[in-house]
């Protein structure tokens, strides 16, 4: 198990390979569909983004509400491909990488290679478990979007797998065949 800190160091990132199991600690930001749409509108209008994306990780996640005394509710990844149209622009601005689930488009893979960034997969549907890795959560923008607001999270040992590394090697689509197969 490899431990890395966020925001990420570009040299450290180059040591990561598709398939590596990683524990992330440090600061990450959440954004999903609606927040990406707003950030894209801001970029179009040449406005500043709600946070400096340089070397940061965006976690595609919209949590369930926290109970009194709880830091955050259930907090697992959402499907990353819905953010594909927005991702290359953010990577060009220096975004370090993304955490989500599922395949990315070839445009995103090319952009990951071009910008030497990384895409991590967290386990979809393990929101209760993943919430335990979150030490603090603060809404920093788009509060009106509710669950889709941008949150700054402090995480400790968030378990992920490198799904696409900086060279564009990707785990999805290269899945190992099942071992009990006789018919195929």
């Amino acid at each position: 198990m490899i431990k890395i800190n966020a925001p990420i160091n570009k040299e450290e990132l180059k040591k990561l390979r598709a398939g590596d199991s990683i524990l992330i600690s440090g600061i990450i930001y959440t954004a999903r569909d609606a927040a990406h749409q707003r950030m894209a509108e801001s970029l179009k209008k040449k406005e500043r983004l709600p946070f400096d994306v340089q070397n940061q990780l965006i976690y595609y996640m919209g949590p369930s509400p926290s109970k009194p005394g709880q830091i955050i509710g259930s907090a697992g990844p959402t499907t990353a491909s819905r953010m594909d149209t927005y991702t290359p622009d953010l990577l060009d601005l220096g975004l370090g990488g993304m955490i989500g689930k599922g395949k990315r488009s070839s445009e995103v893979i090319h952009s990951i290679i071009k910008n030497a960034s990384v895409y991590f997969a967290a386990t979809g549907g393990a929101g209760a478990l993943l919430s335990k890795c979150i030490l603090s959560s603060d809404i920093i923008a788009y509060e009106d979007l509710g669950t889709e607001a941008i949150r700054k999270l402090e995480v400790k040992d968030l378990p992920v797998v490198v799904a696409i590394d900086f060279m564009g090697n990707h785990l999805y689509g290269n899945a190992l065949p099942g071992t009990n197969c006789t018919s195929l």
């Binding site: 549907g125 929101g127 899945a175 195929l184």
Partner: protein, 281 residues
Amino acid sequence: MIRKIHTLEITKNIKEMCIEANYYLSADMKDAIQQASQKETTTLGKNVMQQLQKNLIIAADEKIPICQDTGMAVVFLDIGQGVHIQGDSLENAINEGIRRGYEEGYLRKSIVHDPLIRKNTKDNTPAVIHSKIVAGNTLKITVAPKGFGSENISRIFMLKPSDGKEGVIKSVLQTIQDAGANACPPIVVGIGIGGTFEKCAIMAKEALLRNLKEHSDIPYIAEMEQDLLEQINCLGIGPGGLGGNTTALAVNINTYPTHIAGLPVGINICCHVNRHVTRIL
């Protein structure tokens, strides 16, 4: 004999069922995940299966939703002919139960009021309601919160009669192959074969509610369920889509008579958080 059921009772039950469904999986689902975990052979796949088991324990112990996507509430009603529903309108009573359940259970509100304008209703209403009038004097309610990672990759195929069983199998495998990790495998596959365009879709959704330890009453369909499960698990998608032999936990098929010219096939995929709670009033 006419039996009276007040809508206040329906609201209260729906509220409790929303919360229960989102914190605890049914015993058959938990067993299926545990069994698959033991059989998984890849390292990454095993890790994911262990995470899923830990996740279920944390969710139940600490009353945290199993998944942050607490779904769109799908409600099935079997309304006995001998039941007289009193009070508010049934639809209002159901939506009030959803509203309270999602608020009191700290469940995520994921519903937008209009599919294109997309403003959140902030209380997870309305539910999608499917009701049937049946014999008897009880009201059977099932609440099945449906996550959209897996809903988004579900499909309907209007096949030709000549496509036959092979065509159905090909459509199912293609759907699951295309879905890959997005469906949050290991998945449960609900399939409706026959009927009309909408009937096959509703049958597919109902198939997700069936206990995973039970098979179709029709011998050749039960066999097809088993064959399909094996073929799906040969796709190699694996837990979390990271590779492995656990892509699906079960395949449940429902069938219905259809038209001489058609072979509708609905394929509704559910992630490993296949939530449903049933109560009989």
